[in-house]
């Protein structure tokens, strides 16, 4: 694991985020839920990483672990989390308060839940600036205005004086993104931020986000269940299944040359105009319960390539340059 981890870190500038062997478990009355069970991620400055997985794959919990937002009975039990070289697992609650918003920010799925419904947009934004910097209300307000304009909100001066319920879903999500950007964090974790929005609005937001990461050098982890959204957005993609990253590589590599059977299944499940009239090839079965995962490879029960070798847990293997797969039978999809 250690050597793998060392090989994985990218050459060039030091990564903004390094995660090695992250394990987040939930200790419930029914047993230990291994929501995240050995996740490795690295993120360079200005890089966009797509974290793809189905519900229950642990992608959101990975995000929460990075933000220090785990609730009881969840705990990080193992792993290394480094942000700009700083060990996040050693961070005190006071340090976390400084980090959140300043260094790492998060955008959630539902902007109505993120924004306080009884405070005006400007109050919420000024509060977020003043929590991290000793600046005057006026300066904070100016900064808020600037970020609102950055995320493409028309007439930001007026929008500052509105309450969240007066804005449309797309506008609310833009405000949430603007709040995340307020203190120019090094890393933004976006948890399905466009899932609740219409395609046209999703397109607008993807456009803005892509531009912002390029301009500001902010690293972005985009968590989604939709491989198609990530295809046009991310530099690299990590596919998660049952708490583990099963495939990582450049977006081009993962989508054009997927090597893990689960990634094959995900891609074959996506309906397109070309698939009309033919049945889709879905992955059989359902995601296993995280309470009692099968021994070895968790995908074994649904995998067409499963053999006895899969009873042992597959280590991540670099099957092609910079493309890592956790599978004993990694390879290009079978021709149908």
């Amino acid at each position: 694991m250690q050597t793998n981890a060392a090989q994985r870190s990218l050459p060039g500038p030091a990564p903004v985020l390094e995660v090695h062997g992250l394990k987040t478990h939930f200790f419930t009355r029914n047993g230990v839920v291994k929501a995240v069970d050995g996740v490795d991620l690295t993120l360079a400055e200005g890089e966009i990483l797509g974290l793809v997985g189905e519900s229950g794959s642990g992608k959101s919990i990975t995000g929460f672990s990075l933000m220090g937002l785990l609730d009881e009975p969840g705990r990080i039990v193992d792993g290394v989390l480094r942000l700009n070289g700083e060990d996040l697992r050693a961070a005190t609650p006071a340090r976390w308060r400084q980090l959140r918003g300043q260094e790492i920010a998060m955008i959630f799925q539902d902007p109505m839940m993120t924004l306080n419904p009884v405070l005006r947009v400007d109050t919420q934004m000024i509060e977020a600036v003043q929590a991290h910097a000793k600046v005057s209300r006026e300066a904070a307000r100016k900064r808020a205005l600037q970020t609102l304009a950055m995320v493409g909100i028309p007439s930001p001066e007026e929008r500052l004086r509105t309450y969240p319920h007066q804005l449309s879903g797309g506008m609310r999500q833009r405000v949430a993104i603007a709040i995340a950007l307020l203190n120019s964090p090094r890393l933004i974790i976006a948890d399905e931020p466009t899932t609740a929005l219409d395609v046209t609005i999703q397109g607008q937001i993807l456009f803005e986000v892509q531009k912002l990461c390029r301009e500001t050098g902010t690293g972005l982890i985009w968590i989604t269940h939709d491989l198609a959204v990530v295809a046009g957005l991310a530099d690299r993609v990590s596919v998660m299944y049952a708490g583990r990253v099963v495939e990582t590589g450049s977006t081009e590599a993962v989508i054009s040359h997927p090597m893990h059977p689960y990634t094959h299944g995900l891609i074959a499940s996506i309906p397109t105009p070309a698939s009309r009239g033919k049945p889709l090839v879905p992955i059989p079965g359902m995601t296993p319960s995280l309470l009692n995962l099968p021994q070895g490879c968790a995908f074994r029960g649904r995998c067409p390539r499963a053999t006895d070798a899969c009873l042992a847990e597959p280590p991540p293997v670099e099957v092609r340059p910079a493309q890592w797969v956790r599978c004993w039978h990694a390879g290009a999809p079978d021709t149908l």
Binding site: G170, T200, G203, L206, Q210, S269, I270, P273
Partner: protein
Amino acid sequence: MTEAAINPTPILALNEVELRFVQPVDLAGRIANLLGAGLKTQVVHAVAGVDLAVTPGEVIGIVGESGCGKSTLGRIVSGILPPTAGQVHYQGRPVHAMKGAERRAYELGVQMIFQDPYASLNPRMRVRDIIGEAPAAHGLIASRDKLEYVAGLMRQVGLDPSFAQRYPHQFSGGQRQRIGIARALALKPSVIVCDEAVAALDVSIQAQVLNLFEQLRADLDLTYLFISHNLSVVSHISDRVAIMYLGRIVELADTDTVFARANHPYTQALLKELPTLTPGRRAYQPIRGELPSPLDPPSGCAFHPRCPHAMPRCKAERPLLREVAPGQFSACHLNDGA
């Protein structure tokens, strides 16, 4: 209307269907009006004149952004909401004039599958009652045959019949959606309105459910009205696609035509936004602005404030849905120029 000429016996025909939701000024508003507040009755044209003819055995996809009236249209078709103007014809007979047995046949013949498999199943009913209550109540089956009938339906939608005694919370999202499908099938419908029926599901489960829809259609000769905001899903399952914008159909054509030669600027823009599995950075060219409020729709063509080709005429005059190519209908003034 023109389509009706192509196929003389549509199973379902909508004729200038409109639905207005009226919010009268309330007491506080009337008092405020006495003081000169000038509040008016608010009217939302959720569906503003839709013509559509559905041939038996066809799958029609209805696509649009939230607030375009697609779900309302589905509810009109399934008889949940009566239209305020226009007519719905079922098997050639106007629905509003139906009575007694005929009305019953329509109500049972058009079933609906809802988006949220969590909210659309009664949490206090067992699966056997959720699926079996309606056919027993309508006398399609005898009460003593209920369990057997339910078991058959459960097998048909890919559920283990031994789960019939369970409650909805004991199932996963995909399984619940299958229960919803079995409930709709229990009444032996000829038309099923699927309102975002796969939107809440994971991709791999979504693919399983889409395959189930295809298979049921082949086995039972069903007609689907497939309502979705997801053009990829619609393109996979539909024979024809209707694109809705602010209560009106702006383009209607068979699926291949829509994807190959979309005519309306809105359809073209939607297609451009469609996330596809093409790796590499996309240069997003988003449609500007948002869906206008249906309380105060723009004059003329409702799409003109966001349209890259808008001309002065678009502001003044509403384009009508006209046939621009065989089988392809579009409502846009640009077609007059050429």
